[in-house]
Amino acid sequence: MKKKNNNIFKKIADKAYEYGFFSNVNTDIIESGLNEDVIRLISDKKGEPEWMLEFRLQAYRYWQTLKMPEWAHLKIPPIDYQAISYYADPTKKSKDNKNKEIDPELMKTFEKLGIPLEERLALSGTAVDAVMDSVSVKTTFKEELKEKGIIFCSMSEAIHEYPDLVKKYLGSVVNYRDNFFAALNSAVFSDGSFVYIPKGVRCPMELSTYFRINAANTGQFERTLIVADDNSYVSYLEGCTAPMRDENQLHAAIVEIIVCENAEVKYSTVQNWYPGNAEGEGGVYNFVTKRGDCRGNNSKLSWTQVETGSAITWKYPSCILRGDNSQGEFYSVAVTNNYQQADTGTKMIHLGRNTRSTIISKGISAGKSQNSYRGLVRVSKNADNARNYSQCDSLLLGSQCGAHTFPYMDIHNDNAVIEHEATTSKISEEQLFYCNQRGIGTEEAIGLIVNGYAKEVLNKLPMEFAIEAQKLLSVSLEGSVG
């Protein structure tokens, strides 16, 4: 029985990563290496104003004084930051041809990823900003949204078109001094999305950004900024994939969200960066700082993430609950297989009165992977009647993987109510056999059980995303049994 079991859980391995193809597009890649000249070059290529360059240089100088953090439950091989190229533009064209034709190969790439960029083919009710390597390729439905006063465009465009908004909000939630990767991103970030929802507007469609890494030996440093003004609402989705490569690629992003009075933002991620092969070679290092500031009273921010990809994930989408009655939510499913490592969770910082937060984290570990939940709930002295509910569940497949939970609580107000629940369970052979006896094959059985386990979180995703995510969960664990 033991032997059979091991077999069952060992096979988690080599299923083909569906998005692992490479697109042969004419790409302008700058030489690898990082120094002030490189930063000036990036800024110049993007035709940025002086203040933006200053922002970058300041961050870079600070970054140089930092060391990579080592507190996470991760084994990160040394990264040679000089061996990475910090800018790759797959939309290369001559200056006077700007905003003209998009290379059909690029259009095809996104179509293959299920993200058609022609509006007539687009998923109904979803506007997309498609980012490949360092550049936004296209943003759909921009004009329709503009009619409502909604700004949805690439970060580069926002820097030119809406400098006041960008200056006001960029770095206001995640300062370049926040951490090592935040400083790096602030220095070299290339593209990402900018969203502004004006007062009283409910965004009529889902906004989404699809991040694609294509070029080799490059890093992707995207930057997303979402501002929901008073009484507004937006639901934003993010998806990510990358080609299969033997070397690791670095993705260090920052997402900042500002939620004003009575506004609500839902941010959903389906992260499927290339996780590396069954032997743990290759894959994306996903080191991301995501944070939202619920500045206004009665504001609400909800993070939902389904993390199946990346060789190493280091991310803690967080909520600063500054406004009175503001609410933060974090729903997460993180799957690790083979040699993947994830250290992910959230921070809920209660500053305002009557603030509430909910954390539901579901970790699924298979193969030889390590999956950690790390979360902080902080209640400041003035945050009267703060409430937090945390639930951290771990599901293990096989006996060679690890699940870890690191909950931190830092409570400075006596009337806070904090609840924490945690469970660890294992898919047992008896469960699988029971399914088999009823005619359900082992892989399908695991899919059923895993999706059942993650249901609470998947239900929070917008419909179409939820279906995708369900499939993704099953696929990510395919081969985990035999």
Binding site: E429, Q431, R438, G439, L448, I449
Partner: protein, 251 residues
């Protein structure tokens, strides 16, 4: 009449320990066989081996089911071929609703038989119909598989699944254990209602009382890994009266 299943000189072990030591048994279509015997005689092992539980190793002998080598089939293939085990201890599966579970089971079987998946409407209708057969509450059907079910509910749920899957050979492994008399009657009546002329049942039990409801054609006594006695239904009554000692220590 063609045999439904023929077990020939079956030897099986778990963790290197031999439990079945040469079982011979033929079940014809339409027959109900009872297998009785004291604890540890190998009754559950026999049922587990027939459905292909991976913990057991067949060391000798063969099993022919519908003319085919049963032992060459995976557990799910045996299920698709119409073998059903009502588990002695049904396992709980958190997060998976009975509805999703049964739907996966039914459609897996249909797929194996080259049939299209059942429509949601047809499926829900079938669920309702079959639920009624064992008085299974609709609430239970919406809950996770066996989660928080009482002992009796779990057994009724087993028979409900049997009703859904319409097996040719049903093996009831101590389905009577842990049931009060009313639950026993409901379960047994459910089994009887599902009986068709071509389907067969192997009832594994310690006690006569289940056999008051599910009438066996043939009764076997399993002892120390072998069938030591085979007779008509009167054997069950005799065992009830005299216990197993006279079988264990033949005079």
């Amino acid at each position: 009449m063609e045999k439904l299943i023929e077990i020939k000189n079956l030897h099986a072990s778990i963790d290197g320990k031999e439990i079945l030591k040469g079982i011979n048994l033929i079940v014809n279509p339409g027959e109900v066989h009872a297998i009785m015997g004291p604890n540890g005689s190998g009754k559950s092992t026999l049922s587990n081996v027939l459905v292909g539980h991976p913990a057991y190793t067949v060391t000798e002998g063969e099993v022919i089911y519908k003319g085919e080598n049963l032992l060459a089939l995976s557990p799910e293939e045996r299920s698709h071929a119409g073998i059903f085990l009502s588990f002695q201890y049904p396992v709980e599966i958190a997060g998976v609703s009975m509805t999703n579970f049964m739907r996966a089971a039914i459609n897996a079987k249909r797929e194996a038989h080259g049939e299209p998946a059942m429509s949601a409407a047809d499926f829900l209708k079938l669920m309702r119909e079959k639920r009624a057969l064992v008085n299974l509450d609709s609430k239970l059907a919406n809950r996770s598989v066996n989660e928080g079910f009482s002992g009796g509910e779990k057994k009724r749920n087993e028979i409900f699944q049997m009703a859904m899957l319409e097996p040719t050979l049903s093996i009831l492994d101590e389905t009577d254990s842990g049931l009060d008399i009313d639950a026993l009657r409901i379960v047994a009546e459910g089994v009887n209602k599902l009986k068709r002329p071509e389907t067969s049942t192997i009832v594994i039990t310690h006690y006569q009382r289940l056999l008051d409801y599910i009438k066996p054609d043939i009764v076997h006594v399993l002892y120390n890994g072998k069938i030591v006695k085979t007779a008509g239904p009167e054997l069950a009554l005799e065992l009830e009266e005299r216990g197993y000692d006279w079988i264990k220590n033949p005079q």
